[in-house]
């Protein structure tokens, strides 16, 4: 989950998921983000028994410079390892705020060490991205992650991405 647009887009995406199949669900919300928690309770009000919420450190604050974000990302990465180990996710859905890269790296690393089974990972690029991928999207192109974009022209520039229609 993340600020404003990302959270809204994520709830729109999740409205297309069969929540009777995909449970329990764990939501990772940044420690600085009260808004998402509020929206989450509203979205999941009928299935609060199926959800967990984990508050995690943001790897990069809006506007933070790229150099210091390397260190905050590494720190965030160490804090999410126990979380991923405990949850052992089968599938991880992400859409790009600063909280998601550490979770992905931690999951892939634990899988590489045969500590957990490698989860399926789906990243959905924001509808705002028409011509170029976000930094998160660009990084994820190098990892075993399924990347969905919402404008077909992006698939020509980034062959690893897929367009299956406008989703939000």
């Amino acid at each position: 989950m993340g600020l404003g647009g990302h959270t809204n887009e994520m709830f729109r995406l999740l409205s297309g998921i069969d929540r009777n199949i995909y449970k329990p669900r764990t939501y990772a919300i940044a420690s600085t983000d009260a808004m998402s928690s509020k929206k989450l309770l509203q979205f999941e009000q009928e299935c609060t028994n199926d959800i967990n919420v984990s508050i995690i450190e943001r790897s990069r604050h809006v506007g933070q410079n790229y150099f210091t974000s390397i260190f905050t990302t590494i720190w965030a990465f160490f804090t999410v390892i126990p979380l991923v180990y405990r949850i052992r996710p089968k599938v991880i859905l992400i859409n790009g705020p600063g909280t998601c890269i550490p979770i992905i790296i931690a999951s892939l690393l634990l899988a590489l060490l045969f500590i957990i089974k490698r989860p399926k990972i789906v990243f959905v690029e924001s509808i705002c991205r028409v011509q170029t991928l976000s930094l998160t999207g660009k990084i994820l192109c190098y990892l075993p992650v399924n990347i969905l974009v919402q404008w077909p022209q992006l698939t020509e520039k980034y062959p690893k991405t897929q367009y299956i229609g406008r989703l939000v």
Binding site: E9, G16, K120, S126, I127, R129, T132, G165, V168
Partner: protein, 148 residues
């Protein structure tokens, strides 16, 4: 929005009521709430929790370039003018407004072209916007869970 030339343009579009969300804007030189200028009734408020009912009642919406606002207005099937911040020119945050205009769903402009762009709404028919389909996403996730 409340400049005389803009209000005149609204009048030409047969718009008689201008409702503004002004946020924390500086309201120096702003007309009084409830005043009528150039035959347009002007009303404003700072913030509201939900703009749904105001959007519902509108004939034409002037919005910023945030994806959430754009989608909300198009899904409500409203005529939409997106005003982009000139200092963000060539910024990726404008991509969505540009692309949506290219697809025929809305017009976008900057503050300096607001009035001339409003003229384009005369007898213009926008392409109907189909909302995105999250069930495609649900099906995709089901599919990859089956793959090994």
């Amino acid at each position: 929005m409340v400049q005389e030339r803009v209000l005149n343009e609204l009048k030409n579009l047969n718009i008689k009521h201008l409702l503004l969300q002004v946020g924390d804007s500086d309201l120096i030189d702003f007309p009084l709430n409830g005043s009528i200028l150039n035959d347009v009734y002007i009303e404003y408020y700072k913030f509201k929790d939900s703009l749904d009912s105001d959007i519902d009642k509108a004939d034409l919406i002037v919005s910023h370039a945030g994806a959430g606002s754009i989608l909300q207005c198009l899904e409500a099937k409203k005529r939409l003018l997106v005003v982009v911040n000139e200092t963000l020119m060539n910024n990726h945050q404008l991509e969505i407004a540009e692309e949506m205009e290219k697809q025929g769903y809305l017009f976008y402009c900057t503050c300096s072209t607001l009035q001339t762009t409003l003229k384009k709404f005369q007898q213009h028919q926008f392409r109907a916007y189909e909302r995105g389909n999250p069930t495609l996403f649900g099906r995709y996730v089901n599919q990859i869970m089956l793959d090994n």
